[in-house]
Symmetry: C5
Subunit: 355 residues, 5 copies
Amino acid sequence: MAKLIKKRSKKAGLPPGTLVHIGEKKVGEPKITIIDYDEANFQEREVKTVEECFSFREKPTVTWINVEGVHQVEVVEKLGNCFGLHALVLEDILNTDQRPKMEVYGDYIYIVLKMLYGGDVNHPMETEQVSLILGLNFAISFQEGKEGDVFDPVRERIRSGKGLIRKMGSDYLAYSLIDMIVDSYFLILERLGEKIELLEEELMKDPTHKTLQEIREFKNEMIFVRRVVWPLREVISGLERKESPLVKETTEIYLRDVYDHTVQVMDAIEVYREMLSGMLDIYLSSVSNRLNSVMKVLTIIATIFMPLTFIAGIYGMNFKYMPELEWRLGYLVVWLVFVIVGVSMLIYFKKKKWL
Amino acid sequence: MAKLIKKRSKKAGLPPGTLVHIGEKKVGEPKITIIDYDEANFQEREVKTVEECFSFREKPTVTWINVEGVHQVEVVEKLGNCFGLHALVLEDILNTDQRPKMEVYGDYIYIVLKMLYGGDVNHPMETEQVSLILGLNFAISFQEGKEGDVFDPVRERIRSGKGLIRKMGSDYLAYSLIDMIVDSYFLILERLGEKIELLEEELMKDPTHKTLQEIREFKNEMIFVRRVVWPLREVISGLERKESPLVKETTEIYLRDVYDHTVQVMDAIEVYREMLSGMLDIYLSSVSNRLNSVMKVLTIIATIFMPLTFIAGIYGMNFKYMPELEWRLGYLVVWLVFVIVGVSMLIYFKKKKWL
Amino acid sequence: MAKLIKKRSKKAGLPPGTLVHIGEKKVGEPKITIIDYDEANFQEREVKTVEECFSFREKPTVTWINVEGVHQVEVVEKLGNCFGLHALVLEDILNTDQRPKMEVYGDYIYIVLKMLYGGDVNHPMETEQVSLILGLNFAISFQEGKEGDVFDPVRERIRSGKGLIRKMGSDYLAYSLIDMIVDSYFLILERLGEKIELLEEELMKDPTHKTLQEIREFKNEMIFVRRVVWPLREVISGLERKESPLVKETTEIYLRDVYDHTVQVMDAIEVYREMLSGMLDIYLSSVSNRLNSVMKVLTIIATIFMPLTFIAGIYGMNFKYMPELEWRLGYLVVWLVFVIVGVSMLIYFKKKKWL
Amino acid sequence: MAKLIKKRSKKAGLPPGTLVHIGEKKVGEPKITIIDYDEANFQEREVKTVEECFSFREKPTVTWINVEGVHQVEVVEKLGNCFGLHALVLEDILNTDQRPKMEVYGDYIYIVLKMLYGGDVNHPMETEQVSLILGLNFAISFQEGKEGDVFDPVRERIRSGKGLIRKMGSDYLAYSLIDMIVDSYFLILERLGEKIELLEEELMKDPTHKTLQEIREFKNEMIFVRRVVWPLREVISGLERKESPLVKETTEIYLRDVYDHTVQVMDAIEVYREMLSGMLDIYLSSVSNRLNSVMKVLTIIATIFMPLTFIAGIYGMNFKYMPELEWRLGYLVVWLVFVIVGVSMLIYFKKKKWL
Amino acid sequence: MAKLIKKRSKKAGLPPGTLVHIGEKKVGEPKITIIDYDEANFQEREVKTVEECFSFREKPTVTWINVEGVHQVEVVEKLGNCFGLHALVLEDILNTDQRPKMEVYGDYIYIVLKMLYGGDVNHPMETEQVSLILGLNFAISFQEGKEGDVFDPVRERIRSGKGLIRKMGSDYLAYSLIDMIVDSYFLILERLGEKIELLEEELMKDPTHKTLQEIREFKNEMIFVRRVVWPLREVISGLERKESPLVKETTEIYLRDVYDHTVQVMDAIEVYREMLSGMLDIYLSSVSNRLNSVMKVLTIIATIFMPLTFIAGIYGMNFKYMPELEWRLGYLVVWLVFVIVGVSMLIYFKKKKWL
């Protein structure tokens, strides 16, 4: 699992708005792609220099600029200056240790989201920060640049003109991107759901210390997911409340839909958390039960053999005058006593339900 | 118990409003029945094709269209298009993994509810999603199509004209359907109540690991029920607040009644949850107590026989000069010592209340 | 303790407003008494038929109709019709499984309250539902009809003209009745307070499994009381906020007083709950402590006698050449060893503070 | 610690506003002192009869009447009637089992507060109820009459004219009294803070069952303090919000200050509570750890001596043909075996870190 | 860790506004530095007497007076009087036991913050109180005077004119100081994060009682940090809501940024707290597991050697007629029995997975 708090020491004491990248470098060169479309036209290209983006600024068509890799400060800075972004926004884009949030600036909205990856056996859960700038006729998305891209279906839809996307504005584009991210959470939830079922089975059959370890890891993953999803609700309800004219009324209904999905995700997380705490109780109680059964074995053995050994000890004494030792049937009688004592102990434990 | 998160992978990446059925297919062919009534007239019929419903759209009488089985996308789609439903609504009707909610669209209200089945020994608890569309003079209900139907009493009331239902509009019809669903929760609660009493008895008499298992299962069922009931409160209070002119003032008082019922259900769930957590404490403590009593048996046995065995061991030694061995009464005296030591140990434990 | 959820199956599927009695039948025939008064006049009588009440409807004096026993549907129905009560109100009066609530109808207010009885050693805690109808110049109270009546002091005050009651309207009468019920909660609290003190003493002196049982029962009683008292706060604050002109300003100050009492009751309940959870910790820890001391006894005995028995065993061996056995003082030396080993073990345990 | 719920049975069924003293009688005769002042003049005297107070009613100077001892109903009644206090207010003054609260009546404000005493080793924590009546040009304070008086510094300040008090009105006087009470809470907190430090030390060094007892007592004290302080916040913020013209704007800033203090007290209480719950975990775990170490001693002893005793037992057998017994070095070899077995066991436990 | 409640006894009973220093004296002489600047000019000097500050009061440039050391009452008093600060504000500046808060006075805002130091192995966590006075064209900061100063970067920025600071007013200066303090929290969080990772490792490998101790200490540190950070959110959101015209709109966006940081800090604290509680469960369960394994060793040893010792005991008996003793192969057979019993026990435990 990724660290909770990334190193910010680099930035300590610098004036606000100073542009410093915080996080890991995940790709070589930042990759910038531009998709420009309206209902009739469509163009897509990958650009080499940031400057090529500038011409799209004033175009009335919807422009989506996607930047993969935010570790090159100048790229973000130039783009930010061209599109008139506040220095604090640029600072936040570069700092990949943000909490999901939405901020309304005069003529654009700044949105920070977190994508979730992994969560299966071989891949620990990881996040990738996605920053969205929603302007009147453009949307800019900044990704850290992990491999694979959840935005591909949106690209495909724009290319093919399927769905409403080509008929709607940049706000619908932003919604589509957010929707893709929230959809990816369901995938994570499915995986977590499978994991929790495996855990339950393990717990029923044969809980070991490893099971507890897994419960704890699962719990930490839940904390991780929760931290990413919780603030999202506020982000989306903020957009829905139309605090900015950039979000049109026709898009509102779609935001309500994605809001619903977020609530569902949160709901499932809470349910998992409750189930986990129930599991912990089962685990602890099964440890106690096992101790109980160990102790029972010990007690049964001791209770049967201690009296027997004592009796054998008696007739191992070397007193001169021990009449029993002289008896013809002495040895046989002692064996009888052994059997009687042993069997009656067993009956006693049977009755106590220890056997 | 049903899964928490249903497979959504089918839909990943599809544009919003794409109609895909998510859930199990529960009946063969979707069954559509139409009931059309006002105070004077009444007609009921089962239709073969969706198109037969279309003529009812403009009729001033109240029309109730009930669809059992939502796995045939075209049926839902055609009906939706005829009655002017939004694509997102149709998408949600087909996705049986919704959270109860209410959404006000221009001229209709969309309500999602969950019915609860089972919860007894042989039937795990299950949900069935019910979608309601409340329009000016119509109500459409979509069920997944489980066997048995909680809406029958409403049908009967319309047929016979008993109660107010024939005199009221479509909002009262919707209320009646919601009321039926909430009523069915009380049945579930009764069953859970009986279960919890059995659990309490078991816990008092002879708690085993199975008891803990049952407590956990009960707890998971509570989580399940809670997830279904909790959002309902908001749904009904939303309707009651009359956010839409579709809900008339005369119906408001009835919605308040069903709201009260919801609160009662939630109340009972909370009480059950608290009782369960108390049970867990009892269980864990009874495990500890049992360990205590096992250990006491062991300690008593060991404390009595260890000294005795030691004494017997002494006189089993082969020293040449052991005066006691020569004594006439040596053996008798040792037996006296055995009895004295044993009895005094027993008295000691009696005093310590271990016996 | 009474059941949490009463059988509602009788009512399943019936149209709203259908009058069915839910609960136990507690008296034979419902008993109806009428008290009619103003500052100057006073009349009190028990009536045989409901119809005798009707004439009081239009009288300008304050009329208090008290009905003991709600299991005869017709009695409630006739009274309801005469005083213009809504069908849902009548349904709720007959259903003794209500949650305390207040509902404002056009010209009357409907209030549901719960009286608490018992809670001592021999009597499990029980509730009795009281429904109040507050009209302009009348108040109707419905009780389930348990023996004994907390309303007697109010009757006495009306008869004697003591206090303000004869000078005030029906709202003050309703307040007086509510005040009586809330006062009776303090009695219950006193009893619970005594119980908790006994529990604390028991816990300090000699906690047994029975103590835990009692803690659990107490906790369940707290849940029971809480369920009755919690919604009351809203009821009274609703009345105080004067959502209806039926509550006059002069009465408001008295409602604030009874509201204060409710808050005090709730406060005490919360304190009891916290104290109980502290008790549970003490109990569990004392179980652990006892296990510890049992184990110490076992360990001390084993640690002393095992080495001794081993030494005795050595000299019980039958080797031909064992020089010690031939020594004159061999036996004495062995005894010395026994004493030294035993005493040094005791000193060791003394130092470890196990003795 | 004082009881949570005082006997109210005396009052059961009495009409509201009936004056009955509830609580302990703490002084002999109620003591009434009057301080009357404005910026220029000052007079202080102790009066014998209540009637002497009446003349101060209409004086424009600020009059502070302090009554110590509220068990004489007539004293409170006469004073109340003279200053026009509502019957319910008088009832509450006499009932020392109130929750802190503030009530605005037409031309006066009624405030109930609780002073805290004790909390050290020899004195259990106790409360004293203080009722304040704040009128336009007077303030009346009712104390139960415990020894010692936290109001002395205020008296001294009025006498000497130090600070603002002589320049301000009765609202500032009331503020000063409240401030004194809140200040006294810090003293209690200091004591609790010392206690918690002692507890921590005890817990680190040598936690016994007594430690747990103390943790529980501390927890109960926290509940006690919390109950007194929590409602205070609302009282003071109510005054600050100036719901009555009796509180002037110049005093508001001082009320904000005392409100801050209340928040600080509450803050500290919450911190103490959290620390206590952490302590409980440590305690329970140290009990488990001790059990572990007891069991280790037992296991080590048993594991070393059981095999040894068995070996000695073998050569104590009386078979005719046991070649080893005849060996010259048999006995020596057995001793070697004893040492080897014993030492290897010790090494094993050393490796397992049990020694 | 510093004490929670500092000695306030000095102040008990003093009139509000009396100036008394509460806290430790941390430097010798208070050190006062003045920085005065606007976009064009800049001057910085350390003054010897408070009076030198007075001339800056009316200057239109921004003046920042920094006072290190608040234990000399007269310094604070004189400065306060010159800049027209309320007596209660001065009292709070001198009392280093404040909770972070913000208070709007007519023409200035009073802000209390806490700096955090230490938190690593050798330095316990400590706080330093910082009071800020924000006026129209001045800002005064009071520090307790610990070594090292987090405000240095701000000074440097003013000197060099880097960033916006020289172009903005006193509100931006105040923001910069608050930002420095919040930034320093991230440093503390980084340290805590490293600590928690070490703890996790320790817990996985070899948890001892020391681990629990560390968990508890960490938890107490979290309580400590939380107490400092929690109220900060309200402080900053209060400033942001522009309750005073002193905060200009251009600064608002920066306050939102620092508010975001505060939320992030709080978020991380909550996550740490949850992780800690998970650790505690692991720890307690590992203690139980270890007990289990100790008991298993004991039980295995006892179960193998008790029956064997008993058998050896039988043939140690001295009966005259014991046929086995005479057998040629008797001894060999007994050895066979020993091996068979021992091995079958081992197989049994292997099957039970105890070995």
